[in-house]
Subunit: 531 residues, 2 copies
């Protein structure tokens, strides 16, 4: 059977840029376009030239090597010609391979938002598409509010789609702009549209307002659509757009799609998708979603101790796809249900080599269980677990030794009569046979302690230059008087872009923080290989 080509259209730089809290610079857009070329999408929609200085600048040159570089903008206004519409002219002037026009497909919006007649809107679609084609561009039309419009007035919604197609648009994209359409409706409506525009010319643009942007995209493909619009990690307005990072592996690996469809992405590229997804989160300066399908750190993690040995024996019966085909890893969680096979799987994943029969493994397992009973949660703190394991197996150098510390927080009136708080920490640390005393102020005791700990580690100092504490979480376990405090610290190295988690548990929050901070620095030094 010949497989039909399915096209991927990425709108991270356009619709994704509508996400609250996200604001791309030209430099960031250039870096993301490179990432998208690496992923292998067919179209990169770069933004709306003319709408803002960033997008205008971004479209001064072609920014993709592989993908069709696409500019987004409105169709011409009613009552003026394409030649006299500055918006359309900006699109034609942009250094884009393709132009995606957005057009209303719901008569209600034509009347209320555009204030023109239904026929004027059809004229605008036709004239704009023809102008783009005449200028040598690939043209496409995003039919905004298509599904709601179809439900209100199917004839008019279909007329918009037909007009775009007949004018020469390569793609007519059906947009679920409000995001509330369900998969059954999407499939039925797309199927109805194929009577007017062939599926090979239809695209789907879904939003996640009912948690079904992926399902809606696939429903449209089931009905014949052959272009999917989406974004990296599903970013986008409100609840986000269809997540291409989830859709790509499903389309490539799962029946019936893998047998019937072909993407512009091969198996080798697919193994990069986890790294690409995480790299995008890096650019957004946020921690990747551990539970993301296919690419999340927990996507192939299992906690159940009784299943662990079966998983290691025959992983395919517990995994819907093999993690390595998407560049991810199998993770067997070390938890209080942990067995030795969990532990061995975990050590292998972390690259800690050890013989199955090594008696130190039993001691390590006992220690993990004991510590977890005391409140440690190693599944959330890989780096602390790796240090514990390497120490039990005798492989961690003692880079430094904190002999004592003192932390003080004082709140008082200053000379101006204002209430101020001052936090100060003093740390006495032995490095390489020499005792150093460091002092630091900070925003609070943990910040001061962190500052003093990292202020001067002698010969190791250069190895922790890029280290930053990016998140700090505290939990009280078993509230009440016997309570212990669990501190989780997320660290990041600006130089290597490595990210790791460490843990500390104590009845004293400062002590717990201290443990996690020391683990974080030790882990950084271990990975820097400075011993």
């Amino acid at each position: 059977m010949t497989r039909e080509r399915l096209y991927l259209f990425d709108t991270t730089l356009r619709d994704g840029a509508q996400t609250s809290g996200i604001d791309f610079s030209v430099t960031e857009k250039i870096a993301i376009a490179e990432l998208l070329d690496r992923l292998g999408v067919d179209y990169v929609e770069g933004g709306y030239p003319g709408a803002n200085p960033t997008d205008t600048e971004f479209f001064r040159e072609k920014r993709t090597k592989r993908a069709t570089f696409t500019a987004f903008g409105m169709t011409k206004r009613a009552g003026r010609s394409v030649a006299n519409d500055p918006g359309v002219q900006m699109l034609l002037d942009a250094a884009a391979d393709a132009i995606c026009f957005v057009a209303k497909a719901w008569d209600y919006h034509v009347r209320v938002a555009l204030g023109c007649s239904n026929e004027e809107n059809l004229d605008a679609i036709r004239d704009s598409v023809e102008a783009a084609v005449a200028a040598g561009r690939e043209a496409m039309v995003d039919c905004e509010h298509f599904f709601d419009g179809y439900k209100a007035n199917p004839d008019y919604a279909l007329a918009c789609a037909r007009t775009a197609h007949e004018a020469g648009a390569r793609w007519v994209v059906l947009c679920d702009t409000n995001g509330g359409t369900l998969p059954g409706e999407v499939e039925a409506i797309v199927r109805a549209v194929t009577a007017v525009v062939p599926g090979a010319n239809l695209g789907i643009h879904a939003h996640d307002d009912t948690g079904q942007a992926v399902a809606n995209s696939l429903a449209a493909v089931n009905a014949g659509a052959r272009q999917i619009q989406g974004t990296l990690n599903g970013i986008g307005e409100r609840c986000g757009n269809a997540n291409l990072i989830t859709l790509i592996p499903t389309l490539m690996l799962k029946t019936p799609y893998r047998d019937r469809l072909e993407l512009g992405i091969d198996a080798a590229r697919l193994t990069e998708i986890t790294a690409i997804s995480h790299a995008f989160d890096e650019m957004l300066n946020r921690a990747p979603n551990r539970h993301a399908p296919y690419v999340g750190e927990s996507a192939f993690a299992t906690k159940a101790g009784i299943h662990a040995s079966a998983i290691l024996k025959e992983p395919q019966t517990y995994e819907h796809v093999p993690p390595e085909v998407v560049g991810n890893k199998r993770k067997v969680l070390v938890s209080d249900q942990a067995g030795k096979s969990n532990l061995l799987g975990e050590l292998a994943r972390l690259g800690v080599e050890v013989d199955k029969a090594d008696p130190r493994l039993d001691r390590l397992l006992a220690e993990v269980k004991e510590r977890e009973a005391a409140g440690y949660a190693y599944e959330a703190a890989d780096a602390s677990f790796e240090l514990l394991a390497r120490k039990a197996l005798g492989k961690v150098p003692r880079f430094f030794d904190v002999k004592s510390f003192r932390v003080m927080v004082e709140r008082r009136h200053n000379a101006l009569g204002q209430l101020v708080s001052v936090s100060e920490a003093v740390v006495k640390v032995d490095v390489d046979g020499e005792t150093r005393m460091n002092v630091s102020e900070g925003n609070g005791p943990v910040n001061a302690l962190d500052g003093a700990l990292r202020k001067d580690l002698g010969k190791y100092q250069s190895a922790i230059e890029g280290l930053e504490l990016v998140d700090y979480k505290v939990r009280i376990l078993d509230g009440g008087t016997g309570a212990v405090t669990r501190v989780l610290i997320e660290s990041h190295d600006k130089t290597t872009h490595r990210r790791w988690f460490t843990i500390g548990v104590s009845s004293n929050i400062v002590d717990a923080s201290f443990q996690a901070l020391v683990d974080s620095i030790t882990y950084a030094l271990l990975k820097a290989d400075v011993a």
Copy 2:
């Protein structure tokens, strides 16, 4: 048309507890069960009594008022009778209304994981269900790996379902254990099963490994299944379980479900779903997902742009459901008037009487907005909100005034050469015109500060005798250098059994804790009416 009843089965406390990084105590399980009763689910699966001490303790008494309290466990082992199977006996001894047995439905797993014959597995299902029914329990069976099992050996998978049904199970639940089945397959397979077990007895248990747990649950409902298993906010192993917080509004508000199905949740309860979702995240000590369908802070953050007036006139054409029906808010369109009526509603709820026209209300509204922008979250700290409101309305006496404090944590070797940590706090406080200095040691700086603050408040001391700090949560907002720390404290009065939450925000964790502690004591004194 009579609507068919659809049942919701929550497994937050069982399958949700498999989430990496999540680990519930008995106290937390009790609080979550209360939340689930408030939401209105039909079944609360509390855990696996006998598998670990937490779950065994949790099942010592019935923990729900409204929902059917359900225990999870394995069917009896092959080669022994129910009476001689300690696991099944633990289930029968648990204080549960219903028992959900998990059974293999994939012959491959029967052979490899259970090591028994296909017939022995069917016997185990039958005998276990019959024993539960004989003991007066509602019985149900989770058919593990049902969809993969059906694809490998449909006859055997169907035999498992039929056996459970014929033995008297109220529900036969089809589990997509590996999470890789797509909606089209789910719908076709569930439809095939209805030939053997009526849809009114079928449940669906979906996972999010392809981002389609919600779509798969709905696909099963489309095919006739009438029970959905899921979790709060979709927590669960790997990529999570079906998200009930997303499914409930879709089932209640969207065609065709709202016309055909009836849940045990009415419209009034539905307006609490945003608050319930956020309260659960608070319990997990994590920030709610801003982009979550229906309940996310950005879920109704429609970009106004050039169509602002159209949105204002007819918001329903830009929103797939009205935000207020799920207790959420339209973000860009929240007017001061709407803010003020929210505020009045909150004050009425707390019993704070105030005239609608009182100009101090505008100042209070402005202050709340300013503080929430700075990181305060008053929805999680009723007591701090009430104090803020009463202060703005001029109604809180100044019981005491902390002039200064100093907190010190020292870690050093003691005389015996052991590493010890000592925390000490000194507080200078004016009460009733008299200055007092109190000092206290504690488990960490906050505990020491709490001790010193409450050591001697003069004439108010007797009013805070019963006060205890039961929980303490810390979150870092907007990680990075500009980070601030938010502290939430839960207090309890042993005498009055009152429970309240206070909040503090500062770049310094000790300062933030201090604010929350002072609010907590002030609130206790206010309620004791000692002024």
